[in-house]
């Protein structure tokens, strides 16, 4: 049984349909890349998974449990750790406070997060709003880890960051995969980095999952047609 499974999911923003037929699965210890051009439904899919948006059709299952009626906090408590697009740290809390506020018991503690991202440890008493973009991204990942998730969901985690910081974030994701066995669902535009870190990929096109599989099977035609690269 998959840890997370979406089957033929459809979802709407008011009267406007954003997802038509999205299916994907994520197994324990696996890294899956969710890909597609802008506006194809990647973030909407993540919102549905995290219950920030209710789906209307299909099924969203975590560990075989139907999440249809779950509020977002229940999904998070059940083990979904979201690193949202645009970081969204709590600006008026310090780094330490941002990490303590959502903390739940488990292997990820404040100390371990500071070991994982030493730069956060150095800035522990600093207000989140005063951090650089890269540091805020580390904080967003650290905050998600402090909830001790079973699945880490990264939505555009490297967007708008300097190349050197991007490299650090990708190294951190690779380290998480290697050392923790955490299931990771990652959305990003860098196909090169995704193919290095992810075990499989799923492509969304106009609210539909149109392709899924290993990166060795992602031919030039599909890259061009669905990803524009």
């Amino acid at each position: 049984m998959s840890l997370l499974r979406l089957e033929h999911v459809s979802a709407f923003y008011g009267p406007s349909q954003a997802l038509f037929d999205v299916s994907l699965r994520l197994d324990q210890g696996e890294v899956v890349a969710l890909m597609g051009r802008n506006g194809m439904g990647k973030t909407t899919t993540i919102k549905v998974i995290c219950r920030m948006l209710k789906h209307r059709g299909g099924a969203v299952m975590l560990d075989g449990q139907d999440m249809a009626r779950w509020p977002s906090y229940r999904a998070a408590r059940a083990g979904l750790g979201l690193v949202p697009e645009g970081r969204r740290c709590f600006p008026n809390l310090t780094v330490r406070e941002n990490l303590i506020a959502p903390a739940r018991p488990g292997p990820w503690t404040l100390r371990r997060v500071f070991e994982f991202f030493p730069r956060l440890g150095e800035r522990a008493g600093q207000m989140a709003v005063s951090l650089s973009g890269g540091e805020q991204q580390m904080l967003a990942i650290g905050r998600a880890l402090m909830t001790n998730p079973r699945i880490l969901i990264l939505d555009e985690a490297t967007e708008g960051l300097a190349p050197v910081i991007r490299k650090e974030i990708w190294a951190a994701i690779a380290e998480l995969k290697r050392d923790t066995g955490l299931a990771i669902l990652v959305v990003d535009k860098s196909l090169r980095e995704l193919s290095r870190v992810a075990d499989r990929g799923v492509i969304l096109e106009r609210g539909r999952s149109v392709w899924g599989g290993g990166f060795d099977r992602l031919d030039a035609d599909k890259r061009d047609r669905y990803l524009g690269v």
Binding site: S72, N92, E97, A101, P102, M127, R143, T147
Partner: protein
């Protein structure tokens, strides 16, 4: 030492020094004024937990202030008349023991906060303000039409309630008691605001959606904060009843709710000692301007406007710097 900590220390020492000097000079009135500052500050500390940390703009906190006051008034009046509160199914008599009265005031205020908060917190923004105002006014009109306890005329406490080992009729001893309670509550609120609960509450004020996404349910957090906030304000109400030896429906009125909010805003929303500074400033202004004009509230209104427009961290924020409190912006 952080600048805000220094200011808080100076405020505490000042609050302690004024009545001690007055005591040495046998100026009882000044001690009573200082006691009033302490009690009103305590009411503000309660509101500040909900308003400053939780972002809950409650215009019904007079409800808890009044419940605390009436808990003290009702228990004391029955103790004085030797008339039990109820005889069936079990006997409940009045008491003049402050610890028992405080406990009852805290429990009653907390229970009412739980019930009213459970309903009010399902709304937000202006609806939350209006529903808390409505609850407060319900209690106000109920006490007006409650002849058993004085109705509109209120209820007198002929002799101040007692505390073991102290002579509460001595103004300086009563001040000391209130001061200790204020410090205990400030300590509790300071610890709470730095705990996971307080940080999550603060985070929920900043971004509710994000807080839900990390597994925190804001409703429960806010309800807990509202209950603790109500309990602290209720305790202040019980002390206020003993200070004046009188309770009346005015304690429940929206005017009282507004005044408590003014203490918090004047001193600094989300600043630990904001309500202390606000209550002190309010009483000083009242004393200084009351002699100048009957309409001294006009000057208070102007000051409030200045604070809201130019010093959003209140008096503490003005002195300590904008982000010193780490809370409300």
């Amino acid at each position: 030492m952080r600048r805000e900590t220094l200011i808080n220390t100076i405020l505490t020492l000042g609050l302690l020094a004024v009545p001690l000097v007055a005591w040495a000079m046998d100026e009882t009135y000044a001690i009573t004024l200082a006691t009033e500052v302490v009690i009103l500050a305590l009411a503000g500390v309660g509101l500040n937990l909900a308003l400053g940390l939780g972002g809950l703009v409650s215009l019904g906190h007079a409800m808890f202030f009044g419940i605390g006051g009436y808990a003290a008034g009702i228990l004391a009046s029955h103790a004085q008349s030797y008339d039990p509160i109820m005889e069936w199914p079990f006997l409940i008599e009045g008491t003049q023991s402050m610890p028992v009265i405080w406990l009852l005031a805290i429990v009653a205020s907390a229970l009412v906060a739980l019930a009213t908060g459970a309903l009010s917190l399902r709304t937000s923004g202006v609806y939350f303000i209006m529903i808390t105002l409505a609850f407060g006014q319900m209690f106000y009109y109920f006490t007006i039409s409650w002849p058993a306890y004085g109705g509109e005329d209120g209820l007198s406490i002929y002799v101040r309630d007692r505390f073991p080992g102290l002579n509460t009729l001595d103004p300086i001893q009563f001040f000391g008691l209130c001061f200790v309670l204020l410090m205990v509550c400030l300590f509790i609120v300071a610890r709470l605001s730095r705990s996971g609960f307080g940080l999550a509450l603060n985070a929920a004020r900043q971004n509710e959606t994000r807080v839900r996404a990390v597994g925190i349910e804001p409703y429960r957090l806010r309800l807990m904060a509202f209950v603790i906030s109500g309990a602290i304000t209720g305790l202040a109400g019980a002390l206020y009843a003993d200070l004046n030896r009188f309770v009346s429906p005015v304690m429940f009125s929206w005017h009282t709710s507004g005044e408590i909010m003014v203490f918090v805003i004047l001193g600094g929303v989300a600043r630990l000692f904001g309500p202390v500074a606000g209550a002190a400033l309010f009483i000083i202004l009242e004393e200084a301007l009351d002699g100048v004009s009957d309409y001294w509230h006009i000057y208070l209104g102007a000051l409030l406007l200045i604070v809201v427009l130019f010093a959003r961290g209140g008096l503490i924020g003005l002195l300590a710097g904008r982000n010193g409190g780490g809370g409300h912006d």
